[in-house]
């Protein structure tokens, strides 16, 4: 009897722990959604459950500032960065994973160390570079600076993945005299897509969420990306913050990401572990 009671107690404790974890993880986003549907005085009462439902915040966030532009900017930069990172990453990782040459290990460590650079440590040099190229306040300037963030781990994760593929895969093609470019396109690309989806998604998230470069290298409201736009939404004074608008904007930019992450959760986990744990 005593053992049985003990067992139930342990089970209850376990489920309580699970409940606390889920609540802590989900509640802030739930509360953001709830707030985004509230207007007027409802906004300034603390509600735990939905009390009112209005889409006004979702409409007004597009009116007060060029939020549509901001979303477009973020999408454009993120896709550009993903495409460039994958293109450069796949070819480079083929060389790093499948061809033996002197200095390969050193090269990999150097590439990995770039991903550890603090962004602030390159800020003034990057500013000068982007201004020098005439790309200040432009999406192309941002895309260039983001390559520093996405390219190293794209190369790293794709190399880790490609190294694990069997040698026989390319042998026949090489013996037939196929050029390395053909080998990549015909032999590796068809089996690489899971790894490319993973790294592409991680690069997309990194570019979509980036803040410091976007804040520093853009100037006008219509050139801002979404995180900067959200960070800069403010009211006439500190006590007139349009919290409803801020939460609506937050929900708009977060929902697609959450959907993506939940769909690809297994791939993301394997990508993160390949990038971090294998590192």
């Amino acid at each position: 009897m005593n053992a049985k009671a003990w067992k139930y107690l342990r089970k209850a404790a376990f489920w309580l722990l699970v409940a606390v974890i889920v609540l802590f993880a989900v509640f802030p986003f739930y509360y953001a959604i709830l707030t985004s549907f509230e207007t007027g005085s409802a906004l300034f009462e603390v509600n735990y459950l939905p009390e009112s439902f209005s889409l006004i915040n979702y409409i007004s966030v597009f009116k007060g500032q060029p939020f549509g532009h901001n979303i477009f900017n973020s999408i454009f930069v993120s896709f550009l960065v993903v495409a460039l990172s994958l293109l450069l990453g796949v070819t480079a990782s083929y060389a790093l994973a499948r061809v033996k040459f002197a200095g390969r290990g050193l090269l990999l460590i150097t590439i990995l160390s770039v991903s550890m650079f603090p962004q602030v440590a390159v800020l003034s040099g990057m500013f000068e570079l982007i201004r020098g190229l005439g790309l200040y306040n432009s999406m192309f300037g941002l895309a260039i600076s983001y390559m520093m963030l996405t390219l190293p781990f794209t190369v790293w994760v794709l190399t880790a993945f490609m190294r694990d593929l069997p040698r026989e895969l390319e042998e026949a093609a090489v013996m037939d005299g196929a050029t390395p470019w053909t080998v990549i396109r015909r032999v590796f690309l068809p089996v690489m897509w899971p790894a490319m989806v993973t790294t592409g998604l991680l690069a997309f998230i990194a570019a979509w969420n980036e803040f410091l470069f976007a804040l520093t290298f853009t100037l006008t409201d219509d050139k801002r990306t979404v995180p900067v736009a959200i960070a800069l939404i403010s009211g006439a004074s500190q006590h007139e913050m349009p919290w409803g608008n801020i939460m609506a904007a937050s929900v708009i930019v977060t929902l697609p990401l959450i959907v993506l992450v939940l769909i690809f959760q297994r791939r993301i986990v394997s990508g993160l572990t390949a990038g971090a744990v294998k590192g």
Binding site: F44, M116, V120, A121, V122, L123, N209, F211, M247, L272
Partner: protein
């Protein structure tokens, strides 16, 4: 044989052709800006005109005029920022590791709805840092915030607290948001390590009737330690350069100004590119030193982390 070696040679050549574009881009977008920033640290460059500046040696770091010393190395605000950064990093990474371990151990159990729980845990990780800072900003609002409301209803607080504005609580608020946002990352990495463990030693421990807590400390922890140490490095690197959360959650608060916030403030807000770059350079040195110390003290083997 001669054929094979000429094949190898042509493969090597094409390997370099594939590598050069990637390396060139990295050199331009990472190597060059880093070197330029180091160099700017020894000049009096100003943001209004980056093309004219002069070399002033170490004056940004330390200089004496008329018997009075100036420079970053004796700037109390800089050292406050260094202290804030280290304090933030140590506390938040420790909390994230401990909580991540708990979440990973839960997710490693077999129970109904495990997939849903894992999906829920991933949500904070998927939310952009700026958005999570704003969400918590609202929840921690001094007048209308739900956190004050909860704590007062539970009788823990008698009066609301201005979490993000008060000097006593601002750092705690920042740590709370960071822990909420990045514990999932830690949990997933630890979970991956847990799932690679061999099952047979647990079988043996169960047969011998050893208490699960003892099994955790004697078997599980030593086995996953290398992976955890590597995960901690990645988190620590992130924490030491923290910027976004603080910029949005507690702007202009000396209690939470970190090295990155300080350096950007000098660089952009005060336009002092020389001085700000000197701070960036020092930040780079401090972070490199911390990570090297951690690797040496913890005897982390980077290549042993995975399989």
């Amino acid at each position: 044989m001669a054929h094979a070696s000429s094949l190898t040679r042509s493969r090597r050549r094409s390997a370099w052709i594939f590598l050069i574009p990637m390396l060139a881009i990295l050199a331009v977008v990472a190597g060059w800006p880093l070197l330029r920033t180091f160099y700017f640290g020894f000049t009096d460059a100003n943001l209004s005109d980056l093309s004219s500046y002069s070399f002033i040696g170490i004056e940004n770091f330390y200089a004496v005029y008329d018997g009075e010393a100036y420079g970053l190395l004796i700037d109390p605000e800089w050292w406050q920022a260094v202290w804030n950064t280290l304090f933030f990093s140590v506390i938040s990474v420790s909390l994230e590791t401990a909580l991540g371990m708990v979440v990973a151990l839960v997710l490693n159990q077999n129970f109904r709805g495990r997939g849903l729980v894992r999906a829920a845990v991933l949500i904070p990780w998927a939310i952009p840092t700026i958005v999570s800072a704003r969400m918590w900003n609202w929840m921690l609002h001094d007048q209308f915030g739900i956190i004050n409301d909860m704590l007062m209803k539970l009788g823990i607080l008698s009066a609301p607290i201005a979490w993000t504005a008060s000097p006593d609580w601002a750092m705690s608020a920042v740590i709370l948001v960071d822990v909420w946002k990045t514990t999932p990352f830690m949990a997933l990495l630890i979970l991956a390590a847990l799932q690679m463990l061999p099952g047979d030693c647990y079988e043996a421990a169960r047969v011998d009737g050893i208490h699960p807590v003892r099994v955790f400390f004697k078997v599980t922890l030593p086995l996953i330690k290398p992976a955890v140490m590597v995960a901690v490095i990645f988190r620590a690197l992130d924490a030491l350069r923290v910027f976004d959360v603080i910029y949005v959650l507690t702007p202009n608060n000396p209690q939470t100004t970190t090295m990155s916030v300080y350096a950007r403030q000098q660089l952009v807000d005060f336009q002092e590119v020389g001085y700000g770059s000197a701070a960036s350079t020092l930040l780079f040195v401090v972070i490199a030193f911390c990570i090297m110390a951690y690797i040496m003290i913890g005897r982390v083997r980077l290549d042993e982390g995975g399989h």
